[in-house]
């Protein structure tokens, strides 16, 4: 089985994977909401950090918990908890990001029994020199809470090892992304997304191994179709791989992305320091920002434009989860930036389930228009 097939398999059987891991290692599994949870710290404590994701099925169990204007991702994630699909979790963690997912965390903690939960109060004034020491304090609280819960002391060596493993994971994924700069693309956007989502569900040691296999496969790999228009995807939480497959079947390939199941999640490393918690804190404060925690557009905007250039982007899909206000703020500015570069953009709004028919028509029209400009 190729590495990509393996990622796909793990995505489909994510719960079984976590349960097996638990049985095989005797470790604890902790769910996390939002990519500002420091996975390296959970892993250093012998836990498997697992991102809570939805399933894109129609559901009605959240209606008594979350108001309809809470974003579909947050609702879908809570639905999984309420339906007991994560009943194997030992813990749940969240880092302060946006009010929508806050609702998921609060309701989960109140209404779905869970042995351990911890909230990380992420300082969101990332431009302030005070932010790193504050987050360091939060990480110390988290570390102490985990130690109390597991009875295991997290040593400097444990932290060093976890930092190193996750930095390797990030480096290897960046290397895979480098291949996507090529004219002769060896991997689709959907496959790359599967790789990143799998990294949020798997033991990092095992994921690193698969990444090495993938990197060995890529030089000889070819798409079984024309790559078509080189697309960039930018937006809020996105794990709808079925949608990305459908999109790419219409005559394009996603060559780069900026979302939290893509580059925004893994792009930045922890730069080792003597003070390990301080180093982790610095990484999460200075990392590629999500608009839910940043009130300065240019940092994110500049990074996005650089990626768009480096990956030779010919069209951009700007999408948001319905009601995702943090991202809604940035979309008009991003659209304007791309307009200035003559790169066409299409804006789509996602719900738990997607109206494929409608989207298909809009995407086809967009691709036709964009191709006229490019080819």
């Amino acid at each position: 089985m190729s590495a990509i097939e393996k990622f796909e398999e793990i995505l489909e059987n994510r719960h079984q994977y976590a349960k097996d891991w638990k049985q095989r290692t005797g470790g604890k599994v902790t769910g996390w909401l939002c990519t500002y949870v420091p996975v390296e710290l959970l892993y250093a404590a012998g836990m498997l950090p697992v991102r809570i994701l939805g399933t894109h099925e129609v559901q009605d169990v959240t209606d008594r918990y979350l108001f309809p204007t809470v974003c579909p991702f947050s609702r879908d994630a809570l639905a999984q908890g309420l339906k007991g699909r994560y009943d194997y979790l030992d813990g749940l963690t969240m880092s302060r990001t946006c009010s929508h997912v806050q609702g998921t965390f609060d309701n989960w903690r109140n209404y779905v029994p869970i042995p351990f939960s911890h909230y990380i109060w992420l300082p969101c004034h990332r431009e302030s020199p005070r932010a790193v020491p504050c987050l360091r304090g939060e990480l110390l609280d988290l570390k102490q809470a985990i130690e109390k819960f597991t009875g295991v002391t997290v040593s400097d060596e444990d932290l060093d090892k976890a930092i190193e493993l996750y930095n390797t994971n990030r480096r290897l994924m960046r290397q895979v992304y480098e291949f996507r700069k090529s004219d002769d693309l060896p991997i689709t956007g959907a496959e790359a997304m599967e790789m990143v989502v799998a990294s949020q569900l798997m033991d990092v040691v095992e994921h690193n191994k698969l990444l090495e296999d993938l990197l060995a496969e890529l030089p000889n790999r070819k798409l079984d179709r024309e790559a078509g228009l080189r697309l960039m995807m930018i937006g809020s939480e996105m794990d709808d791989i079925v949608f990305v497959r459908m999109l790419e079947e219409l005559g394009c390939t996603v060559v780069i992305d900026e979302h939290c199941t893509g580059s925004r999640y893994f792009w930045d490393d922890v730069i080792p320091e003597e003070d390990r918690l301080g180093a982790i804190a610095r990484r999460y404060i200075t990392r590629w920002p999500c608009p839910a925690v940043s009130s300065e557009f240019n940092d994110r905007g500049d990074r996005i434009m650089q990626h768009a250039k480096d990956w030779d982007t010919q069209g951009v899909l700007l999408y948001q989860q319905k009601f995702c206000d943090p991202h809604e703020f940035d979309i008009p500015s991003l659209a304007q930036n791309f307009k200035e570069l003559d790169i066409p953009t299409l804006v789509l709004e996602f719900d738990v389930t997607i109206p494929f028919g409608q989207f298909r028509t809009r995407i086809e029209a967009f691709l036709e228009m964009a191709e006229l400009e490019v080819f």
Binding site: R64, Y65, L66, F67, T69, V70, R96, T97, C98, S99, H100, Q102, G103, D106, N107, N110, H118, Y119, I120, W121, P123, C124, H125, S128, P129, R130, A131, P133, C134, R136, G137, E138, L140, D141, L142, Q144, A145, P291, A292, V293, S295, E296, F297, K322, F323, D325, P326, E328, F329, I331, P332, S333, A335
Partner: protein, 439 residues
Amino acid sequence: MTTNVKYKSKPLDCWQWGKELRLEAYQDLISGHEQGKLLVLGCAATPYGMLAGLGDFVFLAGEPYGASIAADPPFSIPCMEAYEAKGYSRDMCGYMRNFLGSMYLDKYYFTGGSFPKFDFAWSVRHCPAGHPKWHQLVSEYQGIPMNYIDDETMLSNEGDPQHRIDYVAGQYLDTIEWMEKVTGRTYDDEKAIEAMRNYFRNEALWGEICLLNGAVPAPLDIKSLFALMPISMLRRHEKIATQFLETLRDEVKDRIANQIAAVPTERYRMNMLTPPPWSFLKIFRYLENFGVVFVGTYVYLINSGEVKFLIDEGKVIPATVPEERPGWPEMKNREDMCRTIARWRAEHPFQSHLDTRKKEYVILFRHWNGDAYLLLLNRGCVPMTTSMYDFQRDLQSHGIAVAMFEGNFADCRDIDETGVLDRLEAFLEGQGIHELKEA
């Protein structure tokens, strides 16, 4: 429920004075800039008394401005449309949409003249996608500097909060240097401390006045509270506000002693948690026909005022000002002031954690002698709505009747007025409250 008493009622003696003070605040927003005062944009929770260190200033809080526009649909709708024409979405903060639309149209609500150009924006981040992003757009559009304080510490009740307080205090300290840089002015610590003392005092006074409304009959109703609130909301840093609020408090006490009611037919008392839909204030007048008096709303008790909840004792009492609290140091310099503000913010009910907040809602309900809560599922503000079902469940578990309706506090297009009134009427019928034949 069945006895229909009729209480004495009369307007407040200090009503006219309050009206003048409110008007002055709005006029100052127009003329202040011409008088050489700094014009600063922020949010209602910003401890703007600190700005006094820079000299005279006028502070425009975005939410009350957005709310004023929202209450005037013919002005509000074009603002909303101007905002949407820029490509922004309809589901974002309703106050912000009115505010930004007014800026894009270059129409200032209170005069119809040009929208003011601010010297800088300085806010508090108590809503992730709200204020800082809102001010980011103003700052980009007007080309003005922007800064903010991140202090939403209520979201956590875990671990040792000290590093969070250090973080918040540090930001206040840094902000002073930043303000000096962007204005070219030298900061006067003493002036700032004095204004912050007024600020704390006026917050405590407003909280005390709101708590007095626990008396039966209620001496004030929610409409008068909304009308008087801008004094404490916009002029909290001024001595004149203290004089007014002390006069108001004494008059309210006098009304209680003499059983003077805001609504003479009072027989059913309701509370809210959030602001109302501002374009639909007639809801309160309409429900008076049923003998319903709205005695207050949690959000404005703690947003423009401060009280102290004694959770274990199930009580709420007036707050004291920081320097009178045991163990709190006197503010002698800017470091003391910044630390005091950070600590005061951290302990303010504004920052109560969700689990504590639920208890506060019950305590306040009992203090206000409530019969029911009216909850708004507000399409215009995610943070105020996310936990509403949780609150509803919790209140009901305490045997408290809850009516709920959906709408938008700042977008008149987003509320079905007839449907809401029908629903509330049905709720009241269920509570045995029928329309009064003769009001």
